[in-house]
């Protein structure tokens, strides 16, 4: 404030938002005074309280005054001045006005006092929740009926509410009542009439009288509907006096008098209403009273039930998008799986949490009843679990020759959980011994067909029963036969003996890339082998077949081997071992024996924990058919594996492929002549590839064209896939980066434990254990590779995916960093190391068990067939595949930007913020749809199906682009930086290579289907490309609508049903490009109806799909800069996705 005379408007300026406007205006000086007093709120409050007390005191004595209203008016105006922000707990303006107005409601001489009316109007304008009723109430109480102000205010209110006719009525009533100042009222009425001319009342506005006339029949009912509270229904008016003094037209009075109490009706009838003008409406009630239904009355708490918030939260979760986290098995698990116990039943209890980590205790998701005690967990954590103490002691005893061991059970084996395990592919010296023993005790279920609890228990029994040394011989043979059973199903007519030999040989896998052997084996072989020509031949054949077979590792059997073992009874030992021992390739060091032995025991130790490694983590897509599972377990049809073609293929798998021309097989009448292949067999492989191979080949030679001849089949069938791998040319093992190991790896459980612990720890701050991250090392012919597990990225339906650090790349990078840019060596390190070309420090590793190289195959095929093209960017790269007998490890490119599902969810999460509607912006959807369509179209043109397209299988690929290299305008050809934005398809585990099948093949799905499967699957009709088209439709639907696709079938108008036409049930937003979208969905959902547009008149309907895509591209090019603009949308998503990491 400058000085006393001028008023500082700065002060007002600062607070102007907080000043409630008054009709009469405000004194700037008073405002400043009150506002400046805020500088010391405590003091100010005390002052205010004192002043208020003063007023209250005055009020108490006011009844003696001539004009008690004057005190109220002063009080109110002081309050308004002092508290410019209007009503607050401090000012109490509301209560003050209520008190003031109620006090004089029956005071005749104030009824037409403008000051009193003004108080009312202030109250009504500022606080009343039903101003119209309040005015009616005033009319009823005859307050302000002679004042123009009343009619003006009421009419203005009604006019504002759009009740123009009623407003006119009020003006007229006012004029009839001679309200003063009459002229002003008249003037206002004229203004009103003018307004009315410009904007005549709408036809539908209420025409009831503004002040309803009395209707005796309804008299008992509340007036105006909104007045149910108040003092309705109280006894008839007692104190209300007729208003003698005011000369009022009776007519008008009647109009005002609205209520007639039912009881009073007989005596008072219509003319009497003057005497009881307010009967039935004594009191309009304070605001608080009027809202009393909204406040909860205080009651004793006994027996009360409080609703829980948690329950509500559940229903609020509208998220319907399915997150595929293979949480399904968990739900089958009894209550114990959740750490927080169900709290819904005793709703008045606090939520409970079990301090113990139940997930650790019930570690085996597949078998919830199997539990691990704390001590077991600790032993496992410390790597002391499953150590074969008998064996250790035995060794000790033998070494030191101090103690005599009296009981040499064979049994459990060491596990060192923390040290990285080097995988050496080793020949198992005696493949059948331990296995057969175990099998011998397993009643009737050697292949673990169903993973039921009973099955697990059985295995448990197997593992936990004390060894019975003598349980061998005939029984074991039986088991072997059983095991080899499915072989027959593959069309082989080996006799049983051959079968049993075969299954034994399946463990005795010899492989070219790692065929070490050690002296011990040789000795053993010599001791035990006594060749027989017949079985040798069979053995050869099996061997040749089996050698590069992906081992599906379903075997629960473990080799048990004791170095000191001299057991005499090894009955069904196949004879021909000795002959079969190949000479190892020159470039391999035979593993040193002690190491080898130790490592092998480790693997055995791992498999000692069957409950930690669920034997088969099967996707729901694979029905538990016995046949298939058996096949998984024992790698069927090994006799069809052709021999490897050439050594060179190892490094460049596809060079030869044109010669072999397996791809595309349908065009090729027959495979290369069987005689051609043996010629190419490398020298060192001669020993095996002799006649038996040729014999096997001869069988194969009958195969022509596509590998699979069936015209209808389940493309996911394991035996079918195995069959494919058998006959693949060139064989899978020649693919670069594909390594097959004959050993078990057995690290799955450990990795799972680690990542589980990691995810737990994420919530906390501790990172103590990170140093113990498991390092996975793969030993291969070219030096091997090593990866450090970082964390779990996701659990696919098939297998968990982990983020790993490629240690080779990491080392190289670190070294290069240390060396500095000048160092030539550093550059060499980075550039010359072939292993790190195209590799990144962080990669994804998919762990599968049982392992299958299928996904690897499809991904490699996709990359190969698409060559260097734009679509290939949208297909994830598979770097390496390590196939063990128990687990498979697929090394993949790592993209950290999340999936389309994440985008959908991000959009959903933004509902209600700003203009966001909870779904993705159409431009962005269009853009991603184009990317999807292009990629799938390209794959289809190369005969590849993805088979499992869904939003969470599409990673976002928004590569980093500097702003200047990326135009705001969308370019369909990918130029100006647009090619760097797109998607990447992952999870090809259900992929289908159409070139392996007859052109007219049809697939059937025998798994359980849901709404997310295409119509053909749901209706058990055969399908091919439909699966991907429907997948595309589902993804685009979830992007557009933020929810799962739902379709309806429409048979059209044709009687008897024409072709079914599928439509989505959701309807497009009006402003979307409905034509584009609907034609696209039509194509994707009803592809068969478009086949006639194709040149080939058969699937895929690439032409129609392309047409849709081109329409979309054209639209996007034209409209990408509207609104926020596509580029900005993508930038924003990049930001959001980046933040989530």
């Amino acid at each position: 404030m400058a000085d006393d005379d001028t008023t500082s408007f700065d002060q007002i300026e600062l607070h102007k938002e907080n000043i409630q406007p008054l009709a009469s205006g405000r004194s700037a000086r008073a405002l400043v005074a009150s506002l400046s007093s805020r500088s010391n709120p405590v003091l100010a409050r005390a002052e205010h309280a004192a002043k208020q007390a003063e007023f209250e005191e005055e009020l108490r004595g006011s009844l003696d005054l001539d004009d008690p209203l004057e005190v109220w008016v002063r009080y109110v105006s002081w309050t308004q001045e002092t508290f410019p922000s209007g009503h607050s707990t401090d000012s109490g303006l509301l209560q003050l006005l209520e008190r003031a107005t109620q006090t004089f409601i029956h005071e005749q001489h104030y009824k037409n006092d403008p000051r009193y009316l003004r108080l009312w109007i202030q109250y009504i304008q500022n606080f009343s929740d039903a101003p119209r009723e309040a005015f009616a109430y005033l009319a009823r109480h005859d307050i302000g009926q002679r004042l123009a102000l009343f009619y003006e205010e009421y009419a203005a209110l009604l006019e504002k509410m759009g009740r123009k006719r009623q407003a006119g009525e009020i003006y007229q009533t006012g004029m009839e009542n001679n309200a003063r100042p009459t002229d002003r009222l008249l003037r206002k009425f004229e203004e009103y009439m003018q307004r009315l001319e410009h904007d005549p009342p709408a036809g539908d506005e209420p025409s009831s009288p503004a002040l309803p006339a009395i209707r005796p029949a309804l008299a008992a009912k509340p007036f105006g509907g909104g007045l149910s509270s108040g003092g309705l229904g109280t006894s008839p008016a007692t104190q209300q006096q007729p208003q003698a003094p005011q000369p009022k037209p009776k007519q008008a009075k009647q109009k005002m008098a609205i209520f007639s109490d039912a009881d009073a009706a007989p005596s008072s009838k219509a003319p009497n209403t003057i005497e009881k003008p307010t009967s039935g409406w004594e009191n309009i009630g304070t605001l608080e009273q009027r809202k009393k239904e909204n406040t909860i009355e205080a009651r004793p708490w006994a027996g009360e039930v409080l609703k829980q918030e948690g329950v509500k939260a559940k229903s609020a979760e509208k998220m319907m998008i399915f997150r595929d986290e293979s949480s399904l098995p968990k739900q089958n698990v009894p209550h114990v799986q959740q750490n927080v116990l169900p709290t819904s039943l005793p709703s008045n209890k606090r939520p409970e949490r079990v301090a113990v980590n139940l997930e650790l205790i019930y570690a085996d998701e597949e078998n919830p009843t199997e539990e691990l005690s704390f001590d077991e967990l600790r032993a496992i954590k410390r790597g002391q679990y499953g150590i074969d103490w008998n064996r250790i002691r035995e060794e000790q005893a033998e070494e030191a020759r101090e103690r005599r061991r009296k009981n040499t059970h064979r049994g459990e084996v060491a596990e060192e959980s923390r040290t990285p395990i080097k995988v050496k592919t080793v020949l198992s010296p005696s493949p059948n011994r331990g296995k057969i023993k175990r099998k011998g005790q397993a009643p009737a279920s050697p292949t673990m067909t169903f993973h039921t609890r009973a099955a697990t228990d059985e295995i448990y029994d197997i593992f936990n029963q004390p060894m019975k040394k003598t349980s061998m011989t005939g029984e074991d043979r039986d088991e072997d036969r059983k095991e080899s059973g499915p072989e027959g199903g593959d069309g082989e007519d080996d006799d049983e003996d051959a079968g049993s030999v075969k299954s034994e040989w399946s463990d005795f896998t010899l492989r070219r890339d790692v065929p070490p052997r050690d002296s011990e084996e040789e000795e053993e072989e010599e001791v035990e082998g006594s060749p027989e020509v017949e079985s040798a031949k069979a053995g050869f054949e099996k061997l040749a077949i089996h050698q590069d077979e992906p081992k599906a590792g379903g075997r629960t059997a473990i080799h048990r081997d004791e170095p000191s073992d001299e057991e005499p009874d090894l009955p069904s030992r196949p004879a021909p071992h000795k002959i079969l021992i190949p000479s190892p390739p020159d470039d391999f060091d035979p593993p040193r024996l002690p190491y080898h032995a130790a490592k092998e025991t480790q693997f055995q130790g791992q498999s000692r924990l069957p409950y930690m490694t669920p034997i088969a983590e099967k996707t729901e897509s694979l029905p538990p058919t016995t046949a298939r599972r058996k096949d998984v377990a024992k790698t069927p049809s090994r006799s069809r594996m052709p021999d490897i073609v050439d050594d060179n293929l190892m490094s460049s798998p596809f060079e030869e492929s044109t010669n072999n021309s397996v791809f595309p097989p349908p065009l090729v009448p027959s495979q290369p002549a069987p005689s051609a292949a043996p010629a190419r067999v490398p020298k060192e492989r001669r020993p095996f590839s002799a006649r038996p191979v040729a014999a096997a080949r001869a069988k194969e030679a009958t195969q022509k064209g596509p590998i699979i001849q069936d015209l209808q089949c389940n493309p996911m069938d394991e035996s079918l896939r195995a069959n494919i791998f058998d006959k693949l040319q060139p064989p899978l093992k020649t693919y670069e980066g594909f390594y097959e190991h004959t050993t078990k790896f057995g690290r799955g459980a450990e990795i799972k434990r680690f990542t589980k612990a990691m995810s737990k720890r994420d919530g906390e701050k501790t990172t103590a254990n990170i140093s113990q991250a498991p390092i996975v090392e793969f030993v291969t012919g070219d030096g091997g590779s090593s990866y450090t597990i970082k964390r779990e990225l996701g659990k696919g339906a098939f297998a968990p995916v982990y983020l790993v650090e490629n240690n080779i790349v990491a080392d190289a990078e670190d070294e290069a960093e240390e060396a500095g840019p000048d160092d030539e060596n550093a550059a060499d390190l980075l550039s010359l190391n072939k292993k790190i070309i195209g590799r990144a420090r962080f990669e994804a590793m998919k762990m599968e068990h049982p392992p299958s190289p299928w996904e690897f195959y499809i991904m490699r095929q996709a990359h190969r067939r698409l060559g260097v093209s734009r679509p290939v960017e949208s297909i994830l790269k598979a770097h390496e595949m390590h196939l063990f007998t128990d687990e498979g490890y697929l090394l993949l490119e790592y993209r950290d930007q999340g999936t389309i599902l994440d985008l959908v969810n991000i959009a959903r999460a933004e509902v209600g913020t700003g203009t966001n509607t909870g779904v993705m912006d159409e431009q962005l959807v269009m853009f991603l749809s184009i990317e999807l369509l292009r990629t799938v179209e390209a794959m289809h043109s190369k005969g590849l199906l993805h088979g499992d397209l869904k939003a969470d299988n599409c990673l976002i690929r928004f590569e980093n682009t500097p702003d200047n290299t990326w135009s705001a305008r969308y370019r369909r050809d990918g130029s100006n930086g647009w090619f760097k934005k797109g998607i990447t398809l992952i999870d090809f585990g259900r992929g289908i290579d159409m070139k392996l099948f007859q052109p007219t093949v049809q697939f059937i799905a025998d798994w359980k289907t849901d709404n997310q499967d295409c119509a053909e699957m749901r209706e058990l009709r055969p399908w091919t490309y439909q699966v991907d088209y429907f997948g595309l439709a589902a993804i685009i639907h979830s992007m557009l609508f933020g929810k799962y696709i739902e379709t309806t079938a429409d048979r059209g108008n044709i009687l008897g049903g024409g072709t079914k036409k599928y439509k989505i049930t959701s309807s497009f937003k009006r402003y979307w490009q409905t034509e584009i979208w609907s034609s696209m969905f039509d194509v994707l959902l009803n592809p068969l109806q478009y086949v006639m547009d194709e040149e080939s008149t058969c699937m895929p309907v690439s032409k129609s799909v392309r047409k849709c895509r081109e329409e979309m591209e054209a639209w996007l090019e034209a409209n990408c800069e509207k609104g926020v603009g596509l580029k900005n949308l993508i930038r924003r998503m990049e930001g959001v996705l980046g933040k989530r990491r």
Binding site: V340, R353, A355, V356, S373, F374
Partner: protein, 336 residues
């Protein structure tokens, strides 16, 4: 509440998690403690101010359980090395009595039959006569054995999958009774009542059940379970495992020790809690009353029991506290 004055910490505690501790049935100051530090420790709780360690018996692997035999001169242990050993406190040497096919989780000595019972994760129990270990009988069970307790002729075998078998030691060929635990979660410990009427079992989910041997309906009606070892943390009831139970040899009341570090004293007959002691800083790993009922040994060590996923145990959390019970402390309601 308790006064810290009437309890003391034993000097030189084990270096790693305590797996079990037990007072000698013959000498109120002999305390045997087995630990994950691969040792069995024998203490004299009366010696000096804070007791003293008499012997430590080294083992090849972590020891999971220990107990006294007929006399203080025969001590038994069992652990991760699959073996059941008899230890000689004089020489500190061990003598293997039996070998299981997996780690031996629990052992107990039955004075009636003078035999040692051992239960292992290999799903078997062995009945061993320490004087002639050759005549060991092995009895297959359907599940991993988690806890054993014996009194008079009875043996209670608590297994995984909430299975509880009762045996009559005179006829081990088949279980006397097959029961399912009254508790919904994994059984942690069973202990028999000194009066041989029944047993108490505890679960990892903060509950203790009291059951009776007598299979008659009338007797079975008396069984009950109650919640304990829970605490409210931030509006959530955290439920701790009940790791240890010990019956008072004279009054028949029992103590329970939980993952929350709390030891409570219960009157199983009156279904009342008698005492709850001050919370110890780490999870209770073992409890034992001395034979005269004057002392309660409490072993604490942190680990899985208190929700620690690592199973790592900070050495400072490993403590053995011997609590001197006041006159009448531990006496049940209405007992004279």
């Amino acid at each position: 509440m308790s006064q810290p004055a009437n309890q003391f910490e034993l000097s030189s505690p084990p270096e790693d998690v305590i797996s079990s501790l037990t007072f000698s049935p013959n000498n109120p100051s002999r305390l045997l403690v087995s630990s994950w530090d691969k040792n069995v420790h024998l203490y004299d709780t009366n010696a000096g101010l804070n007791g003293s360690k008499l012997t430590a018996f080294p083992h090849a692997a972590s020891v999971l359980d220990c107990c006294f035999g007929e006399t203080d001169g025969s001590v038994f242990s069992a652990g991760l090395d699959w073996q059941v050993q008899q230890l000689d406190p004089e020489t500190g040497k061990g003598n293997t009595l039996a070998t299981h096919e997996s780690a031996v989780k629990s052992i107990c000595y039955n004075t009636e039959t003078k035999s040692l019972l051992s239960g292992s994760w290999d799903q078997s129990i062995k009945q061993i006569d320490p004087r002639s270990p050759e005549s060991t009988g092995s009895h297959a069970q359907p599940h991993k054995i988690f806890s054993l307790s014996t009194i008079s002729h009875k043996l209670v075998v608590a297994m995984s999958s909430r299975s509880v078998y009762l045996y009559d030691l005179r006829n081990m060929s088949s279980p006397w009774q097959r029961r399912e635990s009254s508790l919904k979660f994994m059984t942690r410990t069973v202990r028999c009542m000194p009066n041989a009427q029944g047993y108490a079992s505890s679960s990892i989910e903060g509950r203790v059940a009291v059951e009776f041997f007598d299979p008659s309906d009338e007797s079975q009606k008396r069984k009950y379970a109650f919640k304990c070892h829970r605490s409210t943390e931030g509006g959530v009831d955290v439920i701790y495992p009940v790791n240890a139970l010990a019956f008072h040899p004279i009054y028949g009341t029992f103590a329970s020790g939980g993952g929350d570090g709390v030891v409570s004293l219960w009157d199983g007959m009156a279904k009342r809690r008698l005492r709850q002691y001050q919370r110890y800083p780490a999870s209770i790993a073992g409890l034992s009353f001395s034979n005269n009922g004057k002392h309660l040994a409490i072993g604490t060590s942190s680990g899985f029991e208190d929700g620690n996923d690592d199973g790592v145990c900070p050495p400072e959390s490993v403590k053995i506290i011997v609590r001197e019970l006041q006159e009448g402390e531990g006496k049940g309601k209405g007992q004279s």
